[in-house]
Symmetry: C2
Amino acid sequence: MDMTKKETKSFTPVECKTFIRPVRDVFDLIGGKWRLPIIIALSFKNHRFKELERQIEGITPRMLSKELKDLEINGLIHREVLNSRPVTVLYSLSDYGKSLDNVVVAMRDWGLIHRKRIINK
Amino acid sequence: MDMTKKETKSFTPVECKTFIRPVRDVFDLIGGKWRLPIIIALSFKNHRFKELERQIEGITPRMLSKELKDLEINGLIHREVLNSRPVTVLYSLSDYGKSLDNVVVAMRDWGLIHRKRIINK
DNA sequence: TATATCAGTATCCTAAAGTATACTGGTATA
DNA sequence: TATACCAGTATACTTTAGGATACTGATATA
């Protein structure tokens, strides 16, 4: 698919549905208010729980805890308990989580253009 | 940023927040259950209201109507009333909407990989 | 005349997402 | 001994997204 071309493409409704499905999957995985912020924060550096709480403005420990669990279950992040005193927990992106890079960067690039457009109105 | 590298990058918390903001903006614009499906359907071909309703499985006219309005307000799609009988309305992606191509394709590519991974488990 | 299609709208309701606030148990520091 | 930090959890609540269902008015067709 190349949405930059104007001419109408021949397509079947099934083909369209096939295109939608995987996009929906991604959305289910990284959707919600806090998951992308968490993923981005971890892409900058590994963070402890409290560090994430401070880095991601407005998040409550309840939501942070819940979303970290979900992301871990889906294999996007790792959780490591360090034996420091007091005990700290280090969160990091898994290789699989890192592979989301293209998606995140594409979103950011478009978002930056969008910001400029909004401001110039 | 390159999330494929392992070494820790120097960064400031502010830099991270600056990265998160535009991604959030995009999310607000194309988030929700139905917006991406609508955008994708329109990237395949221009659709009338009823065609979209049939193409996008499970959507109700209420949601379709609402999301089309929001997408039009944000300049991502165009709405054109045709003087046919009965009156039909044609929806199409604007150039701005088409510029989301990179984001959508990045999501789809990753989503396809993810599907394979899930199935092989 | 009855029925179907078009593009929606109106009203009500449910389920999910997210917020607020307080709390836990363990350890270290003043 | 009192206080603070760590990583969360518990409970209750509000808000929002989305679903169900029925309806509108205009036109065309059987």
